[in-house]
């Protein structure tokens, strides 16, 4: 079931050794790419139909084409290594176990879009990955894969490492840009989009670590071959972060189209201590919570879209029968309340109100009106928030209103225990 493309080298090489990386085929794609026509590289990625692996699942080639068309010659490329979505740790592993891979992807992409400088924005809590990347970038420079005249191609490009400071919202593209600019991580009005006016008001391409990690492999096997893996809407593989009440939590790489149940049982070893699985949250705190009987859902971006959420980051959080839906919802609601940047009204005020409403249910003080209000508020936040945080914050609640409605009704109808 597993198909190791971007996780092939995990625990098989010394991540601090660039020689290990080179010996296992590393930087070959970059060498070839530097000889190719730039638009050609983007077309290869288009043929692969690669979609972003950070959660938004946006077609990668569209952003690249967009930026390639801009007139401004100063361009930036940013790797979003902020991985703050609860339940996700696949980027951390990519950075700790095979750091050169996604950097190679960044350099190839930078060449294709003529970026003049790159940044890796890594969350402040990833101390180990930060140190590894400092080392890795220096190694890459020493061997000429970064810096001036890379591999005698005439292409100048280097990458600066930047740390976050404890803010989940800085994983959102404009909040991230604001953070690199030394400001609070509050998003900007769109349009214009980052590919038009991004970092320091210049065209900027932002992609997730895993997205970049796929680039060398797409060039190596060819876009068409890549597109044969996975499903029609979601090509290639996905690094799934499996956690919660399972025997073998960890990162597993599977082709799109594999049912969640298989990942949980076969790769994850099933529920710990033989307990029954009650519910699973998909994607992260911003994703839906589904009941056990829905676990034959396949891992696929469009399947997730059915839940009105862009939850393609790939987390699967398994929760067994010991846990109450509302206790989980409370933690999710408190997470978003704490992480909201505060700029727009529905998110700033709405998240606190959601916490209060969930607490009302927990305290058995909720009425039928509260049920109507929580649903209405969740929908309005979803439709009117300025950025993805506010838009996806209510997803968990909305999904439980659909699949665990009885739990809500039960608390309303039985206010006394």
């Amino acid at each position: 079931m597993e198909q190791k493309i971007v996780s092939k080298r995990f625990d098989a090489i010394n991540p601090l050794s660039i020689d290990d990386y080179l010996e296992s085929g590393g930087y070959k794609s970059l060498k070839e790419a530097l000889k190719r026509d730039r638009i050609n590289i983007i077309e290869e990625i288009e043929a692969a139909r690669l979609r972003g692996r950070g959660g938004a699942a946006f077609p990668a080639h569209v952003k690249m084409m967009g930026i390639a068309k801009e007139e401004e010659t100063t361009r930036y490329i940013i790797c979003n290594a902020d991985e703050g979505e609860p339940g996700n740790f696949k980027d951390r592993q990519l950075m700790e176990k095979d750091p050169h891979q996604f950097i190679e992807g960044m350099v190839i992409t930078a060449f294709a879009i003529r970026a003049t400088k790159g940044y890796i924005y890594i969350r402040g809590e990833y101390d180990k990955a930060y140190s590894i990347l400092e080392w890795t970038l220096e190694e890459a420079r020493k061997k000429g894969y970064l810096g001036k005249n890379i591999l005698d191609s005439g292409f100048d490009f280097d990458i600066e490492l930047r740390s976050g400071a404890g803010s989940y919202v800085c994983g959102e593209e404009f909040a991230l840009i604001e953070s690199i600019e030394g400001k609070p991580g509050r998003t900007r009005v769109k349009p214009p989009f980052p590919t038009q006016k991004g970092l320091f008001d210049k065209p900027t391409l932002i992609n997730n670590v895993e997205t970049f990690a796929n680039i060398p492999h797409i060039l190596e096997m060819g876009g068409d071959e890549f597109a044969k893996i996975g499903t029609e809407s979601s090509t290639g593989t996905k690094l799934v972060s499996l956690s919660g009440n399972v025997n073998n939590p960890g990162v597993y790489e599977v082709p799109f189209g594999v049912p969640i149940k298989e990942v949980v049982e076969k790769l994850g070893g099933g529920s710990k201590d033989g307990r029954k699985i009650k519910m699973v949250q998909l994607g992260g705190a911003c994703g839906p919570i589904i009941p056990e009987y829905m676990l034959d859902l396949t891992i696929d971006f469009d399947r997730f879209e059915d839940f009105d959420s862009k939850t393609g980051a790939g987390a699967i959080i398994v929760m067994d029968e010991r846990f109450d839906v509302f206790d989980v919802l409370l933690r999710v609601a408190e997470f978003f309340e704490h992480e909201s940047c505060g700029k727009c009204t529905p998110c700033r005020e709405g998240n606190l109100q959601l916490v209060k409403l969930v607490e009302k249910f927990i305290n058995r003080k909720a009425t039928q009106k509260d049920l109507i209000n929580i649903e209405s508020l969740a929908r309005v936040m979803h439709q009117t928030s300025l950025c993805g945080l506010g838009q996806t914050a209510p997803t968990a609640i909305l999904s439980t209103l659909k699949y665990f409605r009885d739990d809500y009704l039960d608390l309303i109808e039985h206010p006394e225990l």
Binding site: P86, G87, F89, D91, D127, A165, I180, G182, R322, F335
Partner: protein, 151 residues
């Protein structure tokens, strides 16, 4: 010490967060004073209000003195379903403080953090720049002892 750190960075607005991170990590009480904010704003050519808005936005920064070691315990779902509650209880008992407080000897501050991205080793906590995983009450006791033993 602040001056030496400042000199390492270009006098441009976007150096702010890196300066704050480096400086605060080196200070024993892990916080930034009003005077230091004024110094930084002067160096970068930005208003103090601007520096304050950044310091008050990001979780890492504090304008109040904190303990020598900041213990961040994750309270999100993967850790929650793997017993982070027990870890918190153990810490609160060991240190004799509640979450959000600093020990009397100013050695430890106990804070919540959002998901640390170490859910495969849940429950997890982070102390200063190091993440500890697969915690249980015994492991927590051992870790704290080590920090207490270190001068």
């Amino acid at each position: 010490m602040l001056e030496e750190i400042l000199k390492k960075y270009p006098q441009h607005e976007d150096s702010l967060i890196e300066i704050l991170l480096e400086y605060q990590n080196k200070k024993t009480k892990r916080f930034i004073t009003e005077e230091e904010i004024a110094q930084i704003s002067n160096y970068l050519g930005v208003t103090e209000s601007k520096v304050c808005s950044v310091v008050s936005f990001y979780t890492f920064f504090s304008t109040e003195p904190r303990g020598k070691h900041i213990i961040q315990i994750c309270k999100d779902v993967p850790c929650y379903v793997n017993g982070s509650g027990n870890v918190l209880k153990t810490l609160e008992q060991l240190l004799n403080i509640r979450i959000g407080e600093t020990t009397k000897d100013e050695k430890f501050t106990l804070e919540y953090t959002s998901c640390l991205g170490n859910c495969d080793g849940a429950p997890a906590m982070r102390i200063d720049g190091k993440t500890f995983t697969n915690l249980n009450p015994n492991k927590v006791k051992a870790i704290i002892s080590e920090y207490r033993g270190v001068n």
